[in-house]
Amino acid sequence: MGASYGKLMMWFFLLSDAFTFSGLLITYGLVRSSHPAFEGLVESFTFSTEYWPIPEKVFDAIPFYHGGMSLPLVFVGIMTFILIMSSVTMVLAVEAGHRMDRKAVEKWMLWTILGGFAFLGCQAWEWNHFIHGAFSGDAVAEGTTFFGANLRQNQYGPQVFADFFFFITGFHGFHVFSGVMFNFLIYYNTVTGVYERRGHYEMVEKVGLYWHFVDLVWVFVFTFFYLV
């Protein structure tokens, strides 16, 4: 097909991975559309197990800020920008690889790895916040005061909402983690001159495809989990 065997197989793997993520996100869509939506003004929204929560009311906090102001979706917005930036540094590494510029590949791979770690750190904070809850949440679980969410109780709405959050962002986060590991391997091989001896940097390109795919999935998670 005009592409090397390795690249072709990476494409087909990514296609199958796209099916897996679609399965998760579409199931989210199915369950969400089977629950009633909140009727009324966004300002008067309160958490309840009776209807699906409005995402911007759930994800409205940022790190190091404990004031009462609600900052909806700001933090996930930052996460999105981090991932887009690390995608750019990845293509720049691929471009440098085409020119056999080892120093530039090293530089851009390091930036990409840094972006990956930054994203993972953000996600760790996001999970921590989701699990422990806000300072003034509406406690709905069985009449007791309960903040945050886990797989058995959920402050924010129907239980499945929390389950989906953990499963979908967790599965994506695991992909990012694997991606960082692959990127590090590529960086290591570049530094030790493996690709220079081989005469081409195609491995950077193949792992790059995977890394962009992780970014692509996040674009969909961002829309369907946080925005809609």
Binding site: G2, G29, H98, D101, T223
Partner: protein, 108 residues
């Protein structure tokens, strides 16, 4: 003894300014579309029109990532279609499942 006796001679080519500029342009577009989504999220009332707009903008972003960053636009046509056509199954699945979901009673 020469330090690089076992190393092959590599010719490092100069950076392709045009290509790099294009990559940054794509990144700027992705950032701008995300910013637009952000604005829409807080200015438009919830409803079908808003969801539809979000889906369109997401597809635009996906197109740029897959087409430019993943270079699919410039691959051979067979590979291009081998990846794109199976996506139809995902669209079918999406439509079928969300349609079913709307007719399902709430399960709690």
């Amino acid at each position: 003894m020469a330090h690089h006796s076992n190393e092959p001679q590599v010719t490092v080519l100069p950076p392709d300014k045009e290509k790099i500029k294009k990559l940054w342009t794509v990144a700027a577009i992705l950032g701008a579309v995300t910013a637009v989504e952000f604005v829409i999220a807080f200015t438009m009332s919830h409803g079908t029109a808003k969801t539809f707009l979000f889906v369109i903008l997401t597809i635009v972003k996906a197109g740029y990532i897959v087409g430019e960053f993943m270079h699919l636009k410039y691959e051979v046509k067979v590979l291009f279609w081998a990846i794109l056509i199976p996506i139809l199954f995902i669209i079918w699945m999406l439509v079928a499942f969300v349609y079913e979901g709307m007719k399902m009673p709430v399960f709690n």
